[in-house]
């Protein structure tokens, strides 16, 4: 199972902070996973089009061509603003 996490504005806009998802057929990268989630509706389309959207795989910021095996923790979040 993938454990997908959403933070900050994404968490609010999607009304969800996390979900478990079996790696869907044909999905092999973080970009493909994002694109699939975007087909869930207008809210998802908008939230996952956030400028500068970041993805982390197993708590490490990754690029959009990162491969997924299906047992990762995948987090989507906007640019960070701590400090």
């Amino acid at each position: 199972m993938l454990n997908i996490l959403y933070f900050a504005r994404l968490r609010e806009d999607l009304g969800s902070d996390q979900e478990d998802l079996a790696l869907p057929e044909g999905i092999t990268t973080t970009a493909e996973l994002r694109d699939l989630l975007m087909t869930r509706g207008e809210q998802w389309q908008q939230a996952l089009s956030t400028a500068g959207l970041l993805v982390a795989v197993n708590q490490e910021v990754s690029d959009w061509s990162s491969k997924l095996k299906g047992d990762e923790e995948v987090a989507f979040f906007p640019p960070v603003t701590g400090g």
């Binding site: 982390a56 979040f77 906007p78 960070v80 701590g82």
Partner: protein, 151 residues
């Protein structure tokens, strides 16, 4: 004591205690540089009354540890302490502490700034602020990103 200390907490922290911990660390220390980030009551031209901070538990600590490791490669450091608060904050509240001790001040100054620059652009924290017009998520600043380029 461990030379690297990283803590994410909702409670306030004591600058004195953090400084004392750095000072007691080791007799080789010739310099301690500390930075404290506070909550401002204004941002982007609006007054701000409340700030809320959230983070990605687990990843935050990992990223901070990596930033400190990189600083240790570049400069000769003894103790490094980073404390970052989460939750609800009011103007003048302390948000973040970064403290670095070293044999020499040049290393301590540089490392403290380096850690702070990368904390702001890499560590997964997000700020949300209350203004007169309601709540809004704080946008990342280009100036923060360019601050990391000088390293």
């Amino acid at each position: 004591m461990s030379p690297t200390f990283i803590q994410v907490q909702s409670e306030d922290f004591s600058h004195d205690e953090q400084y004392t911990a750095l000072r007691n660390d080791c007799p080789k220390i010739g310099a301690i540089v500390t930075f404290c980030g506070l909550m401002r009551d204004f941002n982007d031209g609006d007054s701000v009354s409340v700030l809320e901070l959230e983070h990605y538990p687990g990843m935050t600590e990992k990223v901070l540890a990596e930033i400190i490791d990189q600083a240790r490669v570049r400069w000769q450091l003894e103790g490094v302490r980073v404390v970052h608060r989460i939750g609800v904050m009011a103007p003048s509240d302390q948000i973040v502490f970064v403290g670095v001790s070293s044999a020499h001040r040049v290393d301590a100054f540089a490392a403290c700034e380096f850690i702070m620059d990368f904390l702001k652009t890499r560590a997964p924290f997000w700020k949300k602020e209350n203004t007169r017009d309601g709540q809004r998520w704080v946008d990342a600043k280009d100036s923060d990103n360019s601050a990391t380029e000088r390293w």
